[in-house]
Amino acid sequence: MNKQRIIFGGAVILAVSLVAALVVALVLFSIGASPLETYKTILMGPLSDVFGVTEVLVRAVPLLLVGLGIAISFRSGILNIGAEGQIQMGVLASTAVALALPGLPKGILLPLVLLAGALGGALWGGIAGWLRARLQVNEILSTVMLNYIAVQVHTFFLRGPMLDPNELETGSGTPQSMRLPEAAIMDYIVPGTRLHTGLILALVAALLVYVLLWKTTLGYRMRAAGAGAKAARYAGIPVERYLVIAMLLAGGFAGLAGAVEVTGVHHRAIEGISSGYGFAGIVVALFGMLHPGGIIPSSIFFGILLIGADMTQRSAGVPANMVLVLQGVIILAIVSAQSFLRNSYAQARLFRWWSGFKPKKGAQP
């Protein structure tokens, strides 16, 4: 059974990669770039030296954390599109705690800061979960709206209450917070690069999510609520409660990703810190088949794509928005492939259409 599922997953991923590569090649061709050259730069460029590899991992850390949260929510039957906003709330909460308690030793402050980030994100995600559970507000719409709101809250704090006083006095007024105290900054794993201990944290988180979803009662109930809400309710599972829990966890992981970005990479809160990780995390989670074992390699793969896209923008002038196109196509292809490979009716119909055989008039669109 498990082997079958892995083969199924592999077939989906293969088909999706092929379709996505072809569609994007078409777009690249139309803007006058060589698809093969571009792909080579994107995939090989980042891996050509040690620094590149560490940069890929630096990008993979937030993607992995966000992807884990999204996997929890999708498995529980609630579609969290709001990671982008939850990251920003995590950034604000963790920065606020780090700046408010500068005197604490590292062993206490750093965990506290990370926890604050997770709580900030969980709160933001929890709003959408509660709205869905109590007021039946569509979670996709509410999380999208919460993203737009979060951007404004983030900007408000960075331009107002949390603005670095030095920026006002001597700087250019760049909206950013003060630098965090040393005790709230993560150590580097490889000296001379930006690879920080957040990587270990993210890998441990992946293991914990696996245990949570497949080895605990809570995880079982969340997955049951996602697989069939009616059946789960019939079995006595309070589905609404698990929806809220799933959104709290999903938001928590996104918030944690924000806190890791602050403590590991930027060492202060800046504008645009989430830089699309919230949306990319959705693709990472789907590409990893919503399983931690798949999300780890998938986050590294998308880390390569993000770095590679920056490189092609510089070397070949292909706009880095290209990654968004790729992500969109991958999502469309992945959900199509998943349901198509499960749906023998659609397969038969497509086959009939392909072979030009028409049983009767109007049998197909």
């Binding site: 006058g32 968004l324 469309l332 959900v335 199509s336 659609a346 669109p365």
Partner: protein
């Protein structure tokens, strides 16, 4: 300033704001009435805005210049319908999860319009666009004339599309088919209605209208294009359909309410009322969430099979 003038200013600003979300929401209404929840509306609007801008921009100097705007609108309709077709393929034929697929389409449209724009144009440039056309006589009516009859021709088209889409939905055989496949596709199928074809048609029509909404933004409202021109208006349009209880008239009311909130927020800044700018900008988005929370009772009025892929061979 006296309150009469203030109200007048807010309303005059609100009507142009409402056009894009009204057009997109009327289109989305056809999608949802047919049972497909199209969150990709936002991405389609991005592509519509891009194509609507590009054609007149490229034809500016050539012999086709006088037709640039018309061709831009036609192109936006076409690209919208094409993306609607793509979404139909994914959600109707393959039966994919509509919520996630919609986000995919949104990313695709957003990313593609940005990529092509950066490659072909690069910087900020304007087009002449479609100019305002006050209706003779009517625009000179005190107060009402300024609010309703002193706008872009596309605004009049959008408002005329409200009764038109009501007529199409409730008074034509095709409208009955659309409502049937969204409410009880199996019964419709039994009665000989082609569920798949009807959903394809509804999605293409909805996509074309979303494309037109995008073109309004780039050609008539902003007269330029940028990555963040659409700024989530497609999602607002989807929310308006819920708020308007799946009826064109309700959607019109929602669109006007929403735009009044938006123009009020802008006017407050002009009047110099002390209020943090960021909170004023987030006001419309907060309003959408509140409205969705209040509209939950209306869910029963909506198409009952919304969001469910139809599989003819599925056993009960």
């Amino acid at each position: 300033m006296n309150p009469g003038v203030m109200t007048f200013n807010v309303l005059c600003l609100a009507v142009p704001f409402s056009v894009a979300i009204l057009l997109a929401a009327l289109g989305e209404n056809f999608n949802q009435r047919a049972g497909v929840f199209n969150l990709g509306c936002d991405g389609i609007m991005c592509m519509g805005a891009f194509v609507g801008f590009m054609l007149p921009y490229f034809l500016k100097a050539g012999p086709m210049a006088p037709y640039g705007n018309l061709l831009g609108l036609a192109g936006a309709l076409g690209v919208g319908a094409a993306l609607g077709l793509l979404f139909a393929l994914v959600t109707v034929t393959f039966g994919a999860s509509q919520g996630i697929a919609g986000i995919g389409l949104q990313m695709l449209g957003w990313g593609l319009s940005g990529t092509l724009f950066r490659h072909f144009v690069g910087g900020v440039t304007g087009v002449e666009g479609i100019l305002a056309m006050p209706i003779p006589w009517l625009s000179r009516i005190p107060f009402l004339g300024g609010v309703f009859f002193n706008h872009n021709p596309m605004a009049y088209v959008a408002f005329l599309l409200v009764p038109a889409s009501w007529f199409l939905l409730y008074k034509t055989p095709w409208g009955l088919k659309v409502r049937a496949v969204g409410t009880h596709p199996r019964a419709a199928d039994t009665m000989g209605i082609n569920v798949v074809r009807t959903r394809y048609q509804a999605l293409m029509l909805g996509g074309a209208m979303a494309g037109l909404a995008g073109a309004y933004l780039s050609l008539a409202q902003a007269k330029m294009f940028s990555d963040d021109l659409v700024a989530g208006r497609g999602f607002i349009a989807v929310a308006l359909v819920y708020f308007g209880r799946w009826s064109p008239l309700g959607i019109l009311g929602g669109a006007l309410l929403f735009s009044i909130a938006q123009s009020f927020q802008l006017s407050m800044q002009v009047w110099g009322i002390k209020f943090p700018y960021e909170f004023a900008v987030m006001l419309p988005y907060v309003l959408v969430i509140v409205v969705l929370a209040l509209a939950r009772k209306a869910r029963q009025l909506g198409p009952t099979d919304l969001g469910k892929p139809y599989n003819r061979e599925m056993r009960f």
